[in-house]
Symmetry: C2
Subunit: 356 residues, 2 copies
């Protein structure tokens, strides 16, 4: 079968031939429909994760997949079920985090991530997975199923942020998403039903397709070239929730100043080392005197995938068609890895979905 | 009656004469037993809070009080009941925060704090209070009742910290308290039953009475002159919980590095403005990749006072006698405001408690 991989000594993804995998006990064989591309894929390609599986000289890319069950084997699935695989796998048998259904809370060394670190990804015509790592998706959203994984990242971050506010009455109205990449836009759409006012900060100038998407959702675009994160409360309003999806480290700290009293910042970006000056005294004092919180969040658990399926099914189709700017067949897969100002979200299509 | 106050143009607290207050509708008259002194009192004396009640040229000090009901008036209390007053009061009738029993979550302008900002404190022979701001205390701990307020601060911070970890299975074992002042030591004692290993960081050298208290509780003293907060994981172990009670702003940021994966830092200090460099990229990344959280916490609500009464009643008497280094009668009140290396916690005694 064909797969898209990056070699340890390669700089670009290439199509390779690999044997079609055989499902083991408790595993289903899945025929891949589509696999999304995100910033993490570009980091894997650049070698930033160093996660080639042991004994291999390449890693198959892709962690945002949707497929149909080709061979249920001994799992409870039926042939033709549409499924999305979760990303983390236990490296050496199960551990307590996986046993609890919380692989996203496993520390370093207690997980592999398919397509990212220690295990091959899903950018192949077929993949196998234990049944407990497959989430069923309604056929109606099969074509958008590659968005379940990124949506699950948002579900987890929002759940953890809300949990941090659960010791008191919290009735948030305003939310600011930092970053107008595909995860930021997806989050704006997911926040829309629950928040009265949603803002999204980016550094693009008009005309720009991401600004169009933000405004079509009824949200407000904040141009960071005009308004810094710290200045958002004066320029707009203090935010009950800030969702950081930029990986720009100063934003994590400025988030404290963008928050309303009793607000929470969910941090998702993964910046490189970088030292800089902060208004540390004021930030510390702000956190304390106004009961603010910062909550870091990585990856997602099975329940977040399930919640993401529901959220995705509720999103307007028009938003999804605006968000996804390119679905590229395997023989034109390079186009899915182009990241320019006209690209928002892309996926590689291995097989077109046909409802049975 | 006598009261201890600080004048706007004064530099030290003085004893003044004031009329004994008359309880209004729904208020009880309380005869004061003891009132504790803490760092906030020193800030009020230094003018750092600027909280003199409107139309006054002085503020009666004291927010850590215990007393006995002298006149229940129309409240449900009985004469002789031992009570501790909460600190925040609605400035102009009630507001939603007070209506919900969450005055600690009220933003600026929606609260006064007795003895701190906008309202006279409890350092007087008598005070009045609406019944809903009085918490009953068992006579057995009447003499320690002035510790209920600081213990309530810890209760709230720990509740909010735990809430931030409530979206997953969190079974913390190790805790680090930053600061060996009276609140830090009280917190070490309160954490002791729930954590396997408790550490307390301070900058004192041996011999020192606070180190003796820490060790008598079975906790480990960490000398910050030898071990920075960031170095604690290597020198000891990563911490599931960090409780910051120093107000030293770099500690708020170093807390992120002291935490174990999935850990939480509760921040309580209130530093002045101060800009400094941080390893911002690494700190941001640490928060995200290891699901860490920082939760600021100020003041406390009625339920935290109730929880504090229970916690205080469960603390060893030997710890309390070690912690409280001075109970000073009104005519020697100046001694309660001396803050040297032999002082841990002091209180002014207005009336000795006599059980009826």
């Amino acid at each position: 079968m064909k797969a898209i991989a990056v070699y340890d000594d390669g700089e670009e993804p290439v199509v390779i031939d690999k044997p079609r995998p055989e499902p083991g006990a408790g595993e289903a064989l899945v025929r891949t429909l589509r696999v999304g591309v995100d910033g993490t894929d570009h980091e894997v390609i650049a070698g930033g994760h160093g996660g080639t599986p042991t004994g291999e000289d390449h890693i198959v890319l892709g962690h945002e997949a949707v497929g149909v069950v080709e061979d249920p084997n001994d799992t409870p699935f039926d042939r033709g079920d549409v499924v999305v695989p979760t990303v983390r796998r236990p490296p050496n048998g199960a551990n307590e985090y996986f046993a609890r259904g919380e692989p996203d809370m496993a520390p370093d060394g207690q997980y592999h991530e398919r397509g990212i670190v220690g295990a091959h990804g899903f950018m192949a015509e077929y993949f196998t997975s234990p049944a407990e790592f497959l989430v069923e998706v309604p056929p109606s959203i099969a074509e958008w199923g590659f968005l379940v994984e990124p949506a699950s990242i948002t579900e987890k971050a929002l759940e953890h942020a809300a949990a941090s506010r659960s010791a008191f009455h919290w009735d948030p109205e305003s939310a600011l998403v930092l970053g107008n990449g595909s995860l930021g836009l997806l989050t704006v759409a997911m926040l829309d039903p629950d928040f009265d006012r949603v803002y999204c900060l980016g550094r693009r100038e008009r005309p720009d397709p991401t600004i169009d998407v933000i405004e079509s959702l009824g949200a407000t675009y904040v141009n960071s070239n005009d308004t810094s994160v710290s200045a958002v409360p004066d320029a707009h309003e203090p935010m009950d929730l800030v969702f950081e999806a930029t990986g720009y480290a100063p934003h994590a700290f400025e988030t404290i100043e963008a928050l309303a009293p009793n607000g929470v910042g969910a941090l998702l970006g993964v910046p490189a080392d970088w030292e800089f000056e902060v208004a540390g005294g004021r930030l510390h004092r702000e956190l304390v005197l106004h009961n603010k919180a910062l909550v870091g969040s990585v990856n997602s658990g099975y329940e977040h995938f399930e919640a993401a399926v529901e959220s995705l099914a509720a999103l307007p189709e028009s938003f999804l068609t605006d968000l996804v700017t390119g679905i590229h067949p395997l023989d034109e897969f390079e186009a899915a890895f182009v990241d320019d100002d006209t690209t928002i979200k892309t996926a590689v299509e291995f097989t077109a979905y046909e409802e049975r």
